[in-house]
Symmetry: C2
Subunit: 358 residues, 2 copies
């Protein structure tokens, strides 16, 4: 069944006449439109893509299954009238996407204009379709994973003492782009020494030093689809703390990779890895979740974390990335991108897990 | 007066006990914190920065004027309790930033938890401070403008027939980054021939052809601050339509640069350029606004467009970018980044306005 058909089933279940889709990845997923601004209006029998002047031509090219409507001015100036003119009454909108101010303006206009429409907040209708990947989507993600793997191989060959984090991060970004990645899905992290204690460190002028941990976290993008890869290693082999921490994180990751099964919740998956870290005495140092879904978004459903009720099922693609962070010393994170197949995790990432580069 | 002091004056005027700031550029402007997630809580005598585990260390480093609070879980789990514990009653939030779903959850929790707080939507409190640039901000923008100028010079030297839009766009991005730009503020546009009719074209495999218009739109980023530059030219000199359209757009741009004065509205400024385009018979082909403010955001206040009531005053930095787009043929856009000084527009952009490259 096509993506639109599946969404229309949700509309029927939710008793909506039309759903307004404004979340960028949802919009692209359903329509193919890649512009920065636009609204889908999807009903049982219609599929409109409303865009402003800048995107009319592009929308017609990219979203051939949609009727392109050229709209002018703010949403509030055209949406109530357009939906009302089309005879829609129950109008769903993406509640986690639409700002409160826009909702307020729409309500006021609906009231003032005596439009017979009702604004109904919805949650995750399109996200729940996106969460299980189609073969073509998996192909693009796999290509993005391969690019990330190649970039990590490149990293091993260029990292040497006294080169700055920033220089290496840029060289990896350049490599990814020149090998075919679209603009990278997130700023590349190269964090050395105590900077590695910051899970989301920004590459700095700090130079790589021997016998200090180096965390590299990077991703590529192919046809909109992302990959995400982290590796940590020591340039040298003289840090006993590093070996110990590395082995705990690797153990936690391998445990999760081996034991996660379809039907578990995101919290149960997280627990598998967290138990390993906790039993080694570093529970407090693993302060983030185990992983996140990945696709058109660099972070999307499902979420793997202590409180996540998301159910893991076949066809989902997500990361598994335990970490330990110690202020002043540094940190270790090991992350793969995986797909759930035949009720088990299949690791897409092939980059070597290597603790020491000499 | 410091940024926080000025914001506190607004809080007093709006009778707010505390303002929650979640818009990324607003957060950075007030605190210096550059992470992707975090919430400022600003009252008459306190300034907190609430972040999750990933950002605790970074927040302490970057936001030295703020007390860093380590929070766990969703906003709804900690914000009502934290504000209530601190004794705040009237809690302002950024209505154009906070999604409706979050607002709903907060309201429910406030009700359920019997917290004595009141959620009050606010609009543009921090944006209205950001709109007039301080000398240091202008310095960073000027550096970003110089990088963009240098990239355009580079473009002229590398553009030749049969090279693809994508190759040129990437070469310009590489140039900007290697000359010192942070990740570029928006995807670079290189649009040739009929693609130039798309105001927000994506670079494609289409190769540059002689005697077809080429639009280049690029920007740099320095210390968070952006620049924005567009130029259009013909590789060759054999297209009579091009010369005509180019001269109209250039005339419209020069008119705006010469005539915009402090005290005008964004609509009045837009009108100056639009009249030139309309009188030449191409009014319908200039479908976007004349320009937009620029700073930490690539697009921010003020807005220069047909319906903009934004008042233009000294210290504002914005773009002036009229364009004419003709489906099937192509388009012309000429864009400078300018600052309002002594009630007049001062052009920061120095890139040559050249109609033909041979």
């Amino acid at each position: 069944m096509s993506r639109l058909q599946r969404l229309r089933q949700s509309l029927t279940q939710q008793e909506l006449d039309v759903l307004i889709v404004s979340q960028p990845e949802n919009r692209r997923y359903l329509s193919g439109f890649t512009g920065s601004t636009g609204w889908l209006l999807i009903s049982a029998s219609n599929a409109f893509l409303a865009v402003d002047f800048r995107y009319v031509e592009q929308a017609k090219k990219e979203a051939s299954d949609f009727d392109v409507v050229h709209v002018k001015g703010d949403l509030v100036n055209w949406l109530p009238k357009l939906t009302s003119d089309l005879g829609f009454k129950k109008v769903g909108f993406e509640a986690d996407q639409v700002p409160f101010a826009i909702y307020q303006q729409l309500c006021k206009t609906v009231g003032d204009g005596h439009y017979q429409i009702q604004l109904i907040p919805t949650n995750g209708l399109v996200e729940s379709l996106r969460v299980v990947k189609e073969p073509e989507e998996l192909k693009f993600i796999t290509e993005a994973v391969k690019l990330a793997d190649a970039a990590f191989d490149h990293a091993k060959s260029i990292i040497r003492p006294m080169v700055s984090e920033k220089e290496i991060a840029w060289e990896l970004e350049r490599f990814l782009r020149e090998k075919g990645s679209e603009p990278v899905p997130f700023d590349i992290i190269v964090a050395s020494g105590s900077n590695a204690a910051l899970p989301h460190a920004k590459p700095s002028e700090q130079v790589i030093l021997e016998n200090k941990p180096v965390v590299i976290d990077l991703g590529a993008r192919v046809n909109g689809y992302c990959s995400d890869l982290s590796r940590t290693f020591l340039l040298g082999d003289e840090d006993k703390t590093f070996s110990k921490i590395y082995d705990i994180v690797l153990g936690a990751q391998l445990t999760a990779l081996a034991a996660i099964m379809a039907g578990m919740s995101g919290a149960q998956a997280d627990r598998l890895a967290r138990t390993v870290v906790e039993e080694a005495g570093y529970g407090d140092a693993f302060g983030h979740g185990l992983g996140h879904g990945i696709g058109l978004g660099a972070h999307e459903s499902p979420r793997l974390g202590p409180n996540s009720l998301d159910l893991l099922i076949d066809g989902m693609v997500f990361t598994i990335e335990p970490g330990i962070y110690i202020a002043g010393w540094g940190g270790v994170r090991i992350e793969d991108t995986v797909v759930m197949e035949n009720s088990r995790v299949k690791t897409l990432t092939k980059a070597e897990k290597i603790a020491n580069v000499c």
